[in-house]
Subunit: 246 residues, 2 copies
């Protein structure tokens, strides 16, 4: 029994943003498990079984991966970005909690370049001061909690990064998020809509909150909102290191 489980972050899309640690785990794996488009990023090879699955079955997927590791397989669960940021690492530990026998398995979490940092790098340095990171999907939490967090984040003057801003199943919610942000931060606050960074579909757009519209985002978009000091310089957007600089 030399099975193990690695939960690996593939980064935002480009091969050049996959860490050597993740490449090494994939090279040793017997099985790759994950959401269909992420498994599709792993090159097939003899001896490697690919197990793509649909979205929203994270716990089933976690259990299946743990079962294979327990049976002696070398399993990599792939997430895009970083596995610990709104991705598979938490689902794995939920499954371990429900089935304590799994806790003795060899489990490793392999970090990756998460979408907000790839987006920030492309835009300049909008997250260069204190910031917060919020998942706008309400599958797993009530919208009232999202609203509370938005208002606290704005009053703390955090820069903000939003994952999963918009989906077909809840088209109106992101409009409400933008309204709350305009109320709290004013119309001139800068926002960056960063879609599919580092892939051929990459698109970056910087607007003020007054100009921001829900349809600028889809599920491949990360939205970054600056703090009160965030500004443009040339084609870049950045947040100064010093809170006093205005």
């Amino acid at each position: 029994m030399s099975g193990w489980l690695a939960v690996a972050g593939l980064g935002p899309g480009a091969e050049a943003l996959v860490t050597p640690e993740v490449d090494a785990a994939l090279a040793q794996a017997t099985d790759v498990v994950g959401y269909i488009p992420y498994v599709a990023r792993v090159a097939p090879r003899p001896g490697l079984a690919l197990h793509p699955s649909d979205n929203r079955v994270e716990l089933d997927r976690a259990r299946a991966a743990l079962d294979m590791a327990a049976a002696g397989r070398r399993v990599v669960v792939v997430s895009s970005g970083d596995p610990g940021v709104f991705a598979m690492a938490s689902a794995i530990f939920e499954a371990v909690e429900a089935q304590p026998a799994y806790a003795s398995l060899d489990i490793r979490i392999l970090p990756g370049i998460t979408a907000m940092l790839a987006a920030a790098a492309r835009a300049g340095a909008p997250l260069g001061h204190d910031f917060c990171t919020i998942n706008l999907s309400d599958n797993l939490k009530p919208f009232a909690m999202i609203e509370t967090r938005l208002r606290h984040a704005a009053r703390a003057d955090f820069a903000m990064a939003f994952y999963n801003p918009r989906s077909a199943s809840r088209p109106h919610q992101f409009a409400r998020v933008l309204e709350i942000l305009r109320e709290e931060c004013g119309p001139d606050r800068l926002a960056v809509f960063a879609r599919a960074v580092s892939t051929p579909q990459e698109r970056l757009r910087t607007v003020t909150l007054a100009e921001a519209a829900p349809e600028m985002a889809d599920m491949r978009t990360v939205v970054l909102v600056g703090n009160a000091a965030t500004r443009r310089v040339g084609r870049w957007v950045y947040t100064p290191r010093s809170a006093g600089a205005a």
Copy 2:
């Protein structure tokens, strides 16, 4: 004139966590600029000039790097972790703002594995739900702002990541931070002290806020504090994906 400037994140320490994109930039560079211990991580080679400099001279370093790029050199400014998280990217754009001629230079920001995500991966998935990221150094902001942000973050029930928790020049401040957190989050909230993750000096320690003590942190430590639902499972610490799960 084919000079350029790349601001590159070297990740938390291990070679296996440096992206191929950053390696490629270093392979093409004529000059590497940065804080002494980060420049020391770059392998010397003929044709590569290393320019290590002391801490707290970020703006001078940024100007020197931009001047070299303007003079046709291929310059990599190195940060540990990610360059956009409390690192050199913001300083570069501050220098560009002060000297607009720099704005036409070929500047790229190359993301890296930031310390909080490397630490979270080692601990399990403590940042698996909404979280915030706060620099506790008060060189560049008043402590009152740190306190305001801590209280908002706690009331929003964000998990939290703290960079630069403690230094010789301000030994008492982190004690005050822990007091505020105990007040806001209660004594049982979990905290992870992660030092020098992915290096031979790595040390991870999980405690409750009641047990947390300032001397558990130094400037190579990132401190992660869970949200109200963060829990232990086996040797791991994780935050469930669902806000309802308690």
